[in-house]
Amino acid sequence: MPSVPLSWYLIVAALLFSIGAYGALSRRNAIGILMGIELMLNAVNINLVAFWRYVEVEGLAGQMFAIIAITVAAAEAAVALALILAIYRTRDTVNVEEIDLLKW
């Protein structure tokens, strides 16, 4: 076993997740929200890899899951930034408080 306890990794991941959630929920800029979400995905990956190393070390599932999560994060970033660019082109803003077309 490594000399760093499992709980250290989990606490760092929990703090990173909370900071990312704060960024995603409080930013007015749509790109800032996206960056917060990327932070939360990274925190989840830390948890997956830490659990792989300390609990399921003879298998590969933890690392596989982390790689799939990174893939999904890349796809999500590409689509989200395309949406932000499309909204910027038509509405001339990326402030989420002004993007209220679907609000009634």
Binding site: M1, S26, Y54, I70, L81, V94
Partner: protein, 166 residues
Amino acid sequence: MTAEQFVFVVAALITLGSAVGMVTSRSVFVGALWMIAVFGGVAALFILVGAGFLGIVQILIYIGAIAVLILFAIMLTPRVMGDPNAPRYNRQWPLVAVMTTGLAAVLTVLVLRTDWPLAQEGTPVITGFAVELGKGFMTTYILPFEVASVLLLVALIGAIVIAREE
């Protein structure tokens, strides 16, 4: 404190400090630069925990692709950068700060109070991840692999269609 613990504390402080810098920076562009430091810190944590291949993948995809993509998007939406005095947070940010601090506290207490089913001492650790992961993707995990390929293709086409000039 052992060397491993020292490296862990340094990497964790870089990660969390940069994350705080990211969400509090006034300019989104500076926030994106902080975000690159967060990704680097997370890659260091991956390598420290023993998943070296994932650390390299993290640097390649997050720093090399996603961070550059986000910097591009910030550059392509110039009206945001042009107004440095606009408030960076929405009206609900104090409530969000209280909620996320509470979430962090609850998660920390839960992590410390849970009895994790740790692996046996001396369980052999797989080495040569690139080979093992490649074999895994072609055998046991072939369905998730194919689904991820289709997802990437769909996301690529979707991004082009959405962002295209009419």
